[in-house]
Amino acid sequence: MLRYLAKRLIGLIPVFFGITLISFFVIHLAPGKPTDVATSMNPKVSYEARERLEKLYGLDKPIYVQYFNWLKRVAAFDFGRSYIDDRPVSERIAERIPITLLINISAMILILAIGIPLGVLSAVRRGTFLDRSTTVFSFIGFSVPEFWLALLLMSLFSITLGWLPISGIKSFDFGRLSMGGKILDVARHLVLPVCISAFGSLAGISRYMRTAMIGVIHQDYIRTARAKGLSETKVIYKHALKNALLPVITILGLSVPGLIGSSVIFESIFAIPGMGRLFYESVMARDYPTIMGVLSVGALLTLLGNLLADIAYSYADPRIRVTEEE
C-alpha cells in the first residue's frame, strides 16, 4: 500500500510542474505589465523609474529565468510578496483559504451523502417515479447556471422569507456571540453557498452512480450472490455498490478543479472573503505573485483530491494495489 502511494505521489510531481509552467507562461506572456498600472497612467514617472521598478520585481529578465527563480523560491515555500500591499503571498492565501476549504469540503460531503444513495436507489428502482425524478433533477443540475440559482435562492430565502442572511460569513454582532452561537451564525451564512456549489456535481454524481450501478447489477457475480441466498440489501450494498463505486470515485476526483474554480463565482455573489475572491482581485490588479500563488495552491488541492481518489480506488479495488506494486 505504501509503495503504491509513493508511486502515485511521485507521478503527481510532473503534473504540478506542468500546471505551474503553463500558468506562469500564460500570465507573463499576456500583453501589459503590472508596472503599467503604477507608471503609464502617471506622467511623473520617468522611463528610468519604470525600468527600476521592473528590475525590482525581476520583470526585466527573460521569462524562463523568471520561472526558474519563481520555482526556486516556491521550493522554500516562498510565493513572494504581493504587488498590492507588499505582504507575503503565503500569508494572504493562508488567511483566505480556510473558508474556501470549509465550503468545498462541506459541499463534497453533501455530494457524497446525497448523490451516491440517490444514484443507487434510482438504479435499483429503475423506471419508478423516484428514478424518473432523479433523471430530471440531474439534467437540470447539469444545465442550470449556478450563479443564477444562487440569485433565485438568495431572493427567496434571504429577502422574501428572511430565513437566512444575505451575504458575508458573519453577522455584525458576531463578536458578542457565544461559541455555539458563533458556529451557528457561520453555518447559517454558509447554507446557501454550500448547497448551491454542491448542486451541479450532485446531479452528475447521482447520474454516474446510477449508470455504474445498472451496469454492475447485471454481472454474473451478482447473480451468484443472489443464488447463494444473500439478502437483497447485502447483494446491493455489499457486492454491487463496492464495484459500482469505482468509476464514480474517478469522477469525484476529477470534479475537484470544477469546485475550486466555481468558488470565484460563489464568493463574489455571497461576498465571502475566500480564495476565489482573492484570485479575482489579484487578476484585476495584475498581482502576479498572488495569482501564481493561488493557482499553485489550487493545483495542489486538485492533486490532493486526485490522490485521495486514488487511495479510495485502491481501497475499493485491491487488484489495483497488487498489479501496480509488481
Partner: protein, 268 residues
C-alpha cells in the same frame, strides 16, 4: 418519449437560432435604447419581459443576446473539437512515446482549475468576444482528444486500414480520410454537450463583469443587474436565467438523443 424530448429540444434550439438570425425583426425595441420613463418597468404589453435599470427592454436584449450565446457556443466548441481531433488522432494513430507524452499533457490540463485560468487570461487580454471563444476552446478540448484517441486505437487495427496502407496511402491520408470520419460519432455527441457548457461559462464570465462587455447584451451580463435589484425586479433575474437554463438543457438533451441514435448499443 425519448424521441419526443429530442424533438422538443431541437425545436427550442431552432427557435433560438431564429432569434439570433432575425433579431432586428423579432425584437420590438432597440436593445440599447435607454428609456428613462420606463426604468425597472414590470412585464406589460409594451415590454413583455419588463425593463432593466436603464429602462431597456429585456426581451429585446435577450433576443440580441442569443447571437452572443450561440456564436460563443459554436465557435468555442469548434476550436475545442479541432484541437482535440488533432492531438487525439496523432496520439491514437502513432501510439508509443508520442501517445504517452500527449496523454500526460491531457492529464495536466484536466487537473487545471480551468475557470481560474480562463478568468486570468480574459482579464489580462481584455474581455472581447473573440478572446472568450478562444480561451473556452483552448481549455476544453481534452475530452474530445481522449474520445478520438480511443476510437482510433481500435479502428486502426481494422483490415480496411491495412488495405489502405498496402495501397500506399500516407499516414495523413489514412487519418484524415479513413480514421477521423469513422471516429466522429462520439465526438459529435460530446461537442453538443460542450456547446451547453460553453454557454454556461460565457454567462458566468459576463455575470462577473469580465465577459461580454456592455452595452452589447449577453444573457450573462443582463443578469449582472439582477443582483442589485434582487427583491425589487424579479423579471430582471428570472427571464435571462430561464433562457440560459432552457438552451443549455436543450443542448444536453439533444446530445443524449444523438448518443442513442449513433450508438444504439448503449441505449438503456
Amino acid at each position: 418519449m425519448k424521441n419526443k424530448i429530442t424533438l422538443i429540444s431541437l425545436t427550442f434550439i431552432v427557435m433560438i437560432f431564429i432569434f439570433a438570425l432575425f433579431a432586428p425583426i423579432i425584437a420590438r425595441h432597440d436593445p440599447s435604447a435607454i428609456d428613462t420613463d420606463a426604468i425597472l418597468a414590470a412585464p406589460s404589453q409594451a415590454h413583455i419581459f419588463g425593463t432593466d435599470t436603464l429602462g431597456r427592454d429585456i426581451f429585446s436584449r435577450i433576443v440580441y443576446g442569443s447571437r452572443i450565446s450561440l456564436s460563443i457556443g459554436f465557435i468555442a466548441v469548434g476550436i475545442a473539437v479541432l484541437i482535440g481531433i488533432f492531438f487525439g488522432s496523432i496520439a491514437g494513430y502513432y501510439g508509443g512515446r508520442v501517445d504517452s507524452v500527449l496523454m500526460r499533457f491531457v492529464d495536466i490540463m484536466l487537473c487545471f482549475p480551468t475557470f481560474f485560468l480562463i478568468l486570468a487570461v480574459i482579464a489580462m487580454l481584455e474581455p472581447s468576444i473573440f478572446n472568450i471563444m478562444a480561451v473556452i476552446g483552448i481549455t476544453s478540448w481534452m475530452g474530445v482528444a481522449r474520445l478520438i484517441r480511443s476510437e482510433i486505437l481500435t479502428l486502426k487495427e481494422r483490415d480496411y486500414i491495412a488495405a489502405a496502407r498496402v495501397m500506399g496511402a500516407s499516414d495523413v491520408w489514412i487519418i484524415v480520410r479513413h480514421l477521423i470520419p469513422n471516429a466522429i460519432g462520439p465526438v459529435l455527441v460530446s461537442a453538443t454537450l460542450g456547446i451547453g457548457g460553453a454557454i454556461l461559462t460565457e454567462s458566468a464570465l459576463s455575470f462577473l463583469g469580465i465577459g461580454v462587455q456592455p452595452p452589447t447584451p449577453s444573457w450573462g451580463n443582463i443578469l449582472m443587474d439582477g443582483k442589485s435589484t434582487l427583491g425589487v425586479a424579479w423579471w430582471l433575474t428570472v427571464f435571462p436565467g430561464l433562457f440560459i437554463l432552457f438552451t443549455v438543457l436543450a443542448y444536453n438533451l439533444l446530445s443524449e438523443g444523438l448518443r442513442d441514435m449513433l450508438e444504439p448499443r448503449l441505449k438503456e
